[in-house]
Symmetry: D2
Subunit: 314 residues, 4 copies
């Protein structure tokens, strides 16, 4: 008999990015990605995509370096929030309750084994939409933004970690599905990457190995477009607006997302994504991707023409 | 404090259609919709879309008239299956256990208030893919079918019911989210339609009022394409193949799906769908669509240019 | 032996629209259609789409009513301009030379049998692109505009005429290909519409019958998007911006263009278009569409699910 | 005053490919590219895409090596054919008249300076469409093929030449527009590539330098899909069918076409293409792309993220 999977979390609520260049990072996300500003406070700005219902999905905060501030998970209910807090505390990685932040209520904070600060909350503020931006479509929170690439919603966050296995097991205990696994075969048998989901998305969080801590704690944050046909134009826009692409438009082998990578002015990597299929089965994964010491060889055989640059770096 | 929502069901597993013209219905789904045949037994044929992982998502069975045979829901786990059976039995609508069917294990059967036969199961057979159809993409069950419109997966089923409110409340008890509501305003205050989801899809089941039982028990079954850009070509194909469209390509107001309706040779209505956004929040709905006695007036004002022909019929 | 077809004209250069509401019409074309303003003079504003190389493709001029001001055709060369002027003069419909307008040099003016004022010119001013809008793509005139629906280029103009046959024969004499014909069958045998092209487009000009002069001289002007997948979003935008659709997104039978119609605030009809195939053969047409007195009957049988509302009005 | 440009040619009619593996090449073009067989004779098979009106656009002929057999251009009229033959004969590169081939009438053959055998003809046979493949859309020659990638039409042919300048000047004399130029700057000042068009397409023929005759006479032949959104799926199909990609899906800098390259079993390179804009002006080009001895450096700066592998090889 299968073990019952807990459903403590309903969605990836928000991600906080640190940036040494707050105004330039803000301009990038507003003008090029097409996000809307919900609020500003102190050294932070709160943003949301036009297709999102809650107050913000991105918080950018001025800091000395780029990287991840924290990840915010929305619980499935208030009762689930309480269960989650108790469960995480018992695991010994709790950091305790905070009163909340602009846009959401009290939150329980914790650190995953890889050291990433996270929080879980239930009470959330709906996006306040000015009258002139309200949509005639009742099932969308506001009119589509016709600015930059008009990204529709936050999709996932991908982290660097020095212990992928420990992180992966931690997320699984919280109810995440382990959809895809990237590893070195025997005799090394090392886990290089894990792709995990709380919903039918391919993943809300992925973790990749940075054993020597060469990088920041953040591999990338990812926003989704409506349609894979928009990927090429969006990549083009990034270049026309004077920013750098870190990977040209292509298709991931894992999860089959059409994507490209860009670097925002503060130094964080942004993925733009579309067309990844949905995975409903709790026992879908893990799909296993075996890589060798020479990833180029591997990817020729395994990944067809799409290359996963992230994994290549391991 | 919110009540905790049960998670008994992970996905809409399959739908059984009845047809007085088995071979013609089969040809329609194989050649035009692009489904694969998994098996045949007696007067039934079992089919799946190329992007689906389990044995079948459609069972077509010869019968005197068209309509719905039954709906199959896959549980979230075996323990959830047991919980669901106990819960449904207590509600008084259980029909008892069956040993299963080709493609899945033991199932608990029940009837919703509207009289639709349904079942819930956990054990499922994975699709058996012949060697020459295996894909180089590890995260897809088989190669994409280049036949007909290459539908990717089952999306939802929409039912006619003579008591929408009772049906809606029943699904909510089983943990479905009530995402959208269609109703007549005061003084009639009648519930005409309900759109309900178990995952982040807009809906896996919808129920519309047929107070006088003019229609069969099935409004339509819906398969999804990969991309909204494929909707026009797919509708064209239906006509080129000699079948009838019941509604030309358009966009639904509720759920914002791009769609068209076709009639398969057995008489059942098929919806083809793409581009509906995802709804993650457990407290998202219901978005309320108020209609009047004259739906044409309503839809001009409320639904922008997209018309929901289904609701129009009420 | 076939007669040699003259090549006097290289492209549809621009269309002048009359509007009783200049500023509102301007706002519509700039904010919603996404055109760029090239210049203003007197009661006229000159606009171009981001993908166009010349000074303007649209001139909007304040007037008492809506309708067509004139059509501007660019010659194939200066020598062709001279040949065209001489040829048209000999046909007896010349109006003589003008010195030109902002954006182009001397032009020879004439009236087609249906009374539409037209001109042909060779010298043309290239679009002046400010430094910050210059594109890194050398083969596009400027960066793609991320505003409104980002229409890429002028496609065609469709006229009302009280003598379709006379107009059609006139355009053919000038070297237009007669690609599609719409007519009433015997015994009436009346020509209702003609679709004509100078390039491999389906048409640069079409003429439809308005025998009783119920309408203005302009049926519609048409701009093209890059991709048929953008049609639904563009139609949505028109409604969100508070304008009226005159026909929801659909597919024309003639020319197979994906399209919708909108009404701009001055009263002129705008078509938005994508996905029409190219027709290279000089002897391709005419493809003949026979219609009856009851166009609804006709279109059910002949046009599959796409309806050509223009022809319906006859 | 500009010189009048002759209009002798209306379209690229067909390309003959040589292949040492006739049956395998045939299977590739029928099953994966989705072409239809029009006829077979001797060691040759004649094919056309579903969206093409004439007998064939591709002739594949068994031979010892891969490469180009010949290029067929359709004249603008019979009179233009006669003018072209006289003109080419006067240039000294005529090879004389042939009686024709299956699918077209008498043709005048010639060799361009680069040595590529070509022919021009006027009389052409329309595609014979079996009753069951006839389309309800009158403006398409037959139903869309739902097989492989369903390529819609021949787009262009790209040649290797040891004298790009001589070839380019030859095509210009025949009335081709020189739309794009690739060259080495001073002091070398060498012409590396020329992109030339007879219609509003970006090009029907391109010529790239192979000074040392390392390659065959054919760089690639190119078929167009309907929509750029289909590029990724089509590339995927090529791999799933067991063939090799020579360049992953990307966007060309010159002409802005979305494309990929595949190698057919006989060794010829096939380009699949979509989304290139149209160029109507006779004086549009040439857009100049300056490259250096190190093309990788160049393309980083000049070509944004898209790389033109063809030019890279020079």
């Amino acid at each position: 008999m299968s073990l019952k999977r807990p459903h403590l979390i309903s969605q990836l609520g928000h991600v906080e990015l640190l940036t040494p260049k707050l105004e330039e990072t803000l301009k990038f996300f507003v003008d090029s990605v097409g996000l809307e500003v919900s609020d500003r406070k102190g050294q932070s700005v709160y943003l949301r995509a036009w297709g999102e219902f809650h107050h913000h999905s991105l918080k950018i905060t001025e800091a000395k370096t780029d990287g991840l501030g924290h990840i915010g998970w929305r619980a499935e209910s208030n009762e689930d929030l309480m269960d989650a807090a108790q469960f995480i505390e018992a695991l010994g990685c709790g950091e305790g309750w905070i009163e909340g932040d602009i846009g959401h209520g009290k939150a329980y904070q914790f650190r995953s084994p890889g050291g990433h600060l996270q929080e879980i909350y239930w009470d959330v503020e709906k996006a306040q939409i000015p009258e002139e931006k309200k949509s005639r479509w009742k099932s969308r929170p506001q009119q589509k933004v016709e600015r930059g690439m008009s990204a529709r919603r936050l999709d996932h966050v991908t982290l660097w970690s020095n212990d992928v296995k420990a992180d992966r097991e931690f997320y699984q205990k919280l109810g995440f599905k382990h959809n895809e696994a990237i590893y070195l075969p025997e005799p090394l048998n090392k886990e290089l990457g894990a792709v995990l989901a709380v919903s039918s998305l391919s993943h809300e969080v992925a973790v990749f190995l940075d054993a020597e801590k060469r990088f920041s704690n953040l591999n990338h944050v990812c926003y989704a477009l409506e349609d894979r046909s928009q990927i090429f134009d969006a990549a083009d826009l990034i270049k026309e607006n004077g920013y750098k692409l870190d990977y040209h438009p292509a298709k991931h082998a894992a999860g089959e997302g059409y994507f490209f990578y860009a670097i925002e002015p503060g130094g964080n990597r942004l993925e733009i994504y579309a067309g990844s299929p949905l995975y409903f089965a709790p026992d879908y994964g893990p799909v296993c991707w075996e890589v060798t010491e020479n990833p180029n060889d591997v990817y020729t055989e395994e990944n067809i023409f799409a290359r996963d640059k992230v994994a290549n770096k391991n």
